[in-house]
Point group: C2
Chain length 154, copies 2
DNA sequence: CTATATAAGACTAAATATATCTTATATATC
DNA sequence: GATATATAAGATATATTTAGTCTTATATAG
C-alpha cells in the first residue's frame, strides 16, 4: 500500500521541470541525472506523462521534455495518477460492481472516505508550491542567492 | 497502492468473529468457508492477528479463533496494520531518515498529511459498527428475524 | 491412544514492479 | 542528403512481492 517507484520518479521528473518553468525544454539525460532515475525508465514514465497531457516530448537532436502547463496548474494527484492510474485503496473502491453489495457495505464506505480524502489532499498540492521549496529527492536548487547547480552545465 | 488480499481477508475474518461477539470460539474452517478465504492462508493471517493481540487461537480438537476484545474496541486500522504493518503511503513517510531532507520537504509534508488522514479514518471505524450492518464480503447475516445461515451447521 | 484441529515454516506459483536492451524514428547540423 | 544525436516504443530480463499450498509438528478432547 505504497507509491511505486515509477510514481515517485514521475514526481521527481515534474519537480525538476517545474523549476525550469512551463515550456522550458530539458533533456531526458539531465532530468535522469538530477533526479537519480534510470534514463530508460524515465523514458517510459515520460511517455505516460505525455499521454496524460502533462508534458510534451521533443524528439531528435536537442530533444527533451517540457511542461505543457504552469506548475501551479499541475497537481500532485494528476502526476501520480498519470503513472499508476486512478488511486483506489481497495478493489471495491475502483470497481464497486466487484462486490455483492458495495452500495450499502459499511467497510466499503470507510474505504471510499479514505480514498476521497487522500485524492483531495494530493489534488490540493501543486508543483509551483512543491518545487518552490526544498525537496528531499532532488539536488538542492536554492531559489535566491547561493550557487545554482544547474547553471553553467549542459 | 492498494490493500493486499491478506489485509482484506483479515478484515473479513474479524468481521465474521465480530458477529459472534467477543470470546466466542469459531473454527478456522467455518471462518474460511464463510469468508471465502483459503484455509491455510487464513491460518497465516490468524497468526498475525494473534500476535497483535486481536484474537486468541485455540489448538486441538474443537479449536478455533476468538476475539479478545469487544468488537467496538477493535478498529479497522488495527486489523489492517496487524497484517500489512503500519500504513505508509510513501517510503519517506515510514522512514524519514531515508530522505536527505524530509524535515522540510514539501512533498514529504503532503504524503504525511494524506497518511495521517487515512490512518485516522480507518481508526475511527470499529467492528461493532462494521459488522452490525450488511457488508459485501460475507454471507448475509441478518441481525433480526429471517434465517441465520450459521445456525444448525457445525 | 486416537482423532481432530491448529502452528509454523518451507515451498511453489503468480503477479507486479523495476530495469534494461534493441530497433525504429525524428531532428539539427554539416 | 548524410551524419550525429536524442527520444519512441516495445520486447525482454530480473527482482520483489503477493498469494497460495504443502508438510511436519504440536496441542487438546474424548
Amino acid at each position: 500500500m505504497r507509491l511505486t517507484r515509477a510514481g515517485e520518479y514521475g514526481i521527481r521528473c515534474i519537480l525538476h521541470l517545474a523549476r525550469h518553468g512551463k515550456g522550458a525544454l530539458v533533456s531526458r539525460k539531465e532530468i535522469a541525472v538530477r533526479t537519480d532515475v534510470p534514463p530508460h525508465f524515465l523514458a517510459k514514465i515520460a511517455q505516460q506523462l505525455s499521454r496524460a497531457g502533462i508534458i510534451e516530448i521533443l524528439q531528435g537532436a536537442n530533444g527533451g521534455y517540457r511542461l505543457l502547463a504552469d506548475p501551479a496548474e499541475i497537481s500532485l494527484l494528476a502526476v501520480i495518477e498519470a503513472i499508476i492510474g486512478e488511486i483506489s485503496l481497495n478493489d471495491c473502491v475502483g470497481q464497486p460492481e466487484s462486490c455483492r453489495n458495495s452500495a450499502v457495505c459499511t467497510v466499503h464506505r470507510v474505504w471510499n472516505k479514505g480514498n476521497q480524502q487522500l485524492r483531495k489532499t494530493l489534488q490540493e498540492a501543486n508543483f509551483a508550491t512543491l518545487a518552490d521549496e526544498d525537496v528531499c529527492c532532488l539536488t538542492p536548487f536554492p531559489k535566491t542567492g547561493g550557487h545554482n547547480p544547474l547553471k553553467g552545465q549542459k
